[in-house]
């Protein structure tokens, strides 16, 4: 359809859990809820130490729209609220709850009243559901955008382009009815009767088949098989590869009539509207070379990584590195005491052999990073900027080469034959450009 698609990188699929139906994890003895699990402001705790809580009970409320409430995933007692060092290196208040092991469900749980777009958005906000593909953007805020823009297309993101992860694939295979209901729900309440396109990578033929079958009678819904090339699931890449639309840097997708929603997010919205149980658990793919039995696990949010691994059968050798999320964009954690949060799609435990990075050598100018970049950026120009002495020149070059458009997919670092920490450097330079601009704006 289009001459060239964005995203060209061949990476290993490693989807060994594709056929593993998720198993539900038992109540862990302790759960930890960092108050920032989403993009935006941290939630505000509404419980205090020694309070007893039940499954689905609100423990931290949203701080405005650009935030998301947090619900307890177990029944038990709040032990303390303290500052917890998150994987991003910052500290946020975190609520620790000791589980009584009973998983008693909160009696307030009841389906929300959804009558129109406003009540739907309200319900989604209250459900604690955020972009579950990993970005963690509050879904309700995304939906607000349809009020001021004409919505033409909703792209349901089932690309799941990260290696190892199979949660979204399992959702499509195991709960197609939820996905169907989710689309029906959006159709009913979204204005402008948009069309729906499912973007699914071709390495998941069963998912493509299942979704196509479920929507066989619906002409407004289509499935678009995408090449299995990384990063098909990145929002702007997905929009371009399905619709041929370029999202300019100064616009949001919704301003072009497009909304992208993760397939699991969609399904869980449908589930919430049906049973009123807010987001308290999620599917996590447990895999990696140190894991004894790779599998998909439905994990209570807040469960510690160690408990999840233990429940799933443990490790076959010592883990030298543990990643929350996929190996391309996920965060490596410093301790297996870290909790699973809303956006954790995977726990990847790597053995020493796979965790140790090769030495970084000199850039040989091969251009593989430039070629791999889905945003068509030129990492070599960032390298040139890094060598400039004058800070204004440096920042100008970074800005002109649009380092801020980097989506941090990791393609450049992945392909680098010299194993240079390209993305790591980009992150640092992005941050300094941001600070530089803020400083300049402050001077004016």
């Amino acid at each position: 359809m289009f001459e060239k698609l964005l995203g060209k990188l061949r990476i290993p699929h490693l989807k060994s859990t594709a056929s593993c139906e998720p198993v539900v994890m038992d109540a862990p003895s302790e759960v930890i809820f960092p108050t920032l699990q989403h993009r935006g402001k941290p939630a505000i705790p509404v419980v205090k130490a020694t309070d007893t809580v039940k499954v689905g009970q609100l423990i931290a409320e949203a701080d405005g729209k650009m935030s998301s409430p947090i619900y307890s995933s177990v029944s038990g007692k709040v032990t303390k609220i303290d500052l917890h060092l998150g994987a991003d290196g910052r500290k946020y208040p975190s609520i620790r709850i000791e589980s009584d092991g009973l998983m008693t469900v909160c009696e307030d749980i009841k389906p929300p009243v959804v009558e129109d777009l406003d009540t739907l958005i309200e319900a989604i906000h209250a459900s604690g559901i955020i972009g579950l593909g990993g970005a963690g953007f509050p879904t309700a805020v995304k939906l607000e955008g349809v009020k001021n823009n004409k919505l033409e297309t909703v792209i349901i993101n089932g690309a799941e382009c990260e290696p190892y992860l199979t949660c979204d694939a399992r959702m499509m295979l195991d709960n197609p009815e939820l996905i169907f209901e989710g689309v029906e729900l959006l159709k009913k309440y979204l204005p402008d009767t948009p069309r729906f396109i499912f973007g699914i990578e071709t390495n998941k033929p069963e998912c493509i088949e299942t979704v196509a079958r479920v929507f066989a009678d619906d002409e407004s819904v289509s499935v678009m098989p995408l090449p299995t090339l990384y990063p098909q699931g990145a929002e702007k890449v997905l929009i371009y590869n399905t619709l041929g639309i370029t999202v300019p840097e100064n616009k949001l997708p919704i301003e072009l009539g497009v909304m992208v929603m993760n397939v699991t997010t969609l399904a869980l919205i449908a589930k919430y509207v049906k049973d009123g149980m807010p987001l308290t658990s999620r599917c996590v793919t447990l895999d990696g070379s140190a894991v004894k039995e790779p599998k998909n696990v439905i994990v209570p949010i807040g469960a510690k990584v160690r408990d999840v691994i233990e429940f799933a059968g443990g490790l076959k050798c010592e883990a030298a590195k543990i990643i929350l999320g996929g190996p391309m964009t996920g965060v490596s954690i410093y301790s297996d005491e870290e909790p699973v949060i809303k956006t954790t799609g995977g726990i990847i435990a790597l053995s020493k052999k796979d965790a140790l990075a090769n030495k970084s050598t000199a850039c040989i100018h091969c251009g593989r990073c430039t070629e791999a970049c889905p945003q068509l950026l030129d990492p070599t120009s960032f390298g040139r900027a890094a060598k400039l002495d004058n800070v204004d020149d440096k920042m100008q070059l970074l800005d002109e080469s649009r380092i801020n458009l980097c989506v941090e997919c990791g393609s450049c670092s992945f392909v680098c034959p010299a194993n240079r920490p390209i993305l790591e450097n980009i992150r640092t330079m992005k941050a300094s450009l941001r600070e530089y601009k803020a400083h300049k704006a402050g001077l004016k």
Binding site: I11, A362, P417
Partner: protein
């Protein structure tokens, strides 16, 4: 539990390292090396051995001397040595090989910062040095040897064309298999093409680069000579084929972006043909590459892409 490794994403990396790429280039050059020994005998093997060994040794010694981390294991010095050997006549003097390796590795590569930092292709620059340095002092025979070298005195195909003696040209089949005068690694076009195709299949080089370079040389030669056969001789004679697959595809001294690489190939072809037909030398490949090496950073910047979604000009 021991301490976990914490690092920035991505947490998986490609297995194609610099060493793997250089190894692929060495593998791709093997058919031509074998062919050169078959065509020119053991003296070719000696030249190859001396060039490769001295190149690797010079890099090793340089790193030792300036207390830099050893880089010989990345195999790039071996590639340079092999390419240098390929551009020498089979009867080259040993000290030519050693001087050539020294210039290529120490002067062109290491003094500029080692792998990735040289602005000119070491093997090509060194070939040009040998050509110029020894043409006046060593005499006429060696001069022609380095330019478009001859083994036993006969003219090379390009010299024959230049002097108008087209009757004495070898057959096109001989040109393909390398049964003709020329530098030891350049003559067997078939072996070079086999190696080049291997590099393309291994995604080390892009198919567009050799196609554009060879194609442009052919078309321009045809336009100038208006003779299909002579244009074929222009492509198969001299260093066009080896340059197309192994020299203008060098990463360090060519643009990083694909468009830039293609412009580079086009420019190199243009200069090659200009020198061949309008210059005083019968061969212009090495000069063309050197000139384009110098232009490479500018070509790269002119050919850079517009970032996806960037508003305004590139």
């Amino acid at each position: 539990m021991e301490k976990l490794i914490v690092s920035s994403s991505p947490h998986i990396r490609t297995k194609v390292t610099t060493k793997v790429i250089m190894r692929d280039v060495l593998i791709a050059l093997t058919p031509a090396a074998v062919a050169s020994v078959v065509l020119f005998g053991l003296s070719a093997l000696l030249v190859i051995a001396v060039c490769v060994a001295s190149s690797v040794l010079f890099e090793f010694l340089f790193n030792l001397l300036v207390k830099k981390e050893q880089t010989v294991s990345d195999l790039s010095a071996a590639v340079t040595g092999l390419l240098l050997a390929f551009s020498l006549p089979a009867n080259a003097e040993i000290y030519h090989c050693i001087v050539g390796s020294f210039f290529a590795i120490v002067i062109v590569k290491c003094l500029f910062g080692g792998i990735g930092c040289n602005f000119a292709n070491p093997a090509v620059a060194s070939r040009v040095l040998l050509l110029i340095a020894f043409s006046s002092s060593v005499g006429d025979k060696v001069a022609t040897n380095f330019m478009d070298p001859e083994l036993v005195g006969g003219a090379t195909p390009l010299e024959a064309i230049k002097s108008g003696a087209t009757d004495s040209l070898p057959s096109l089949i001989d040109m393909l298999v390398g049964n003709r005068m020329g530098a030891l690694g350049e003559t067997c076009a078939i072996a070079l093409i086999v190696g080049g195709v291997y590099l393309i299949l291994r995604r080390v080089i892009k198919w567009q680069i050799p196609v554009i370079y060879i194609g442009t040389v052919f078309v321009l030669s045809f336009i100038i000579k208006m003779d299909f056969n002579l244009a074929l001789y222009e492509v198969l004679g001299g260093g066009v084929v080896i340059a197309a697959f192994f020299m203008i595809t060098d990463y360090v001294t060519t643009p990083t972006n694909t468009l830039g690489k293609m412009v580079f190939a086009l420019g190199a072809a243009l200069i090659t043909v200009l020198i061949r037909f309008f210059g005083s030398y019968p061969e212009g490949v090495s000069f063309a590459i050197l000139i384009m090496n110098i232009l490479s950073p500018y070509v790269e910047r002119l050919c850079s892409r517009k970032p996806f979604g960037k508003v305004g000009k590139k």
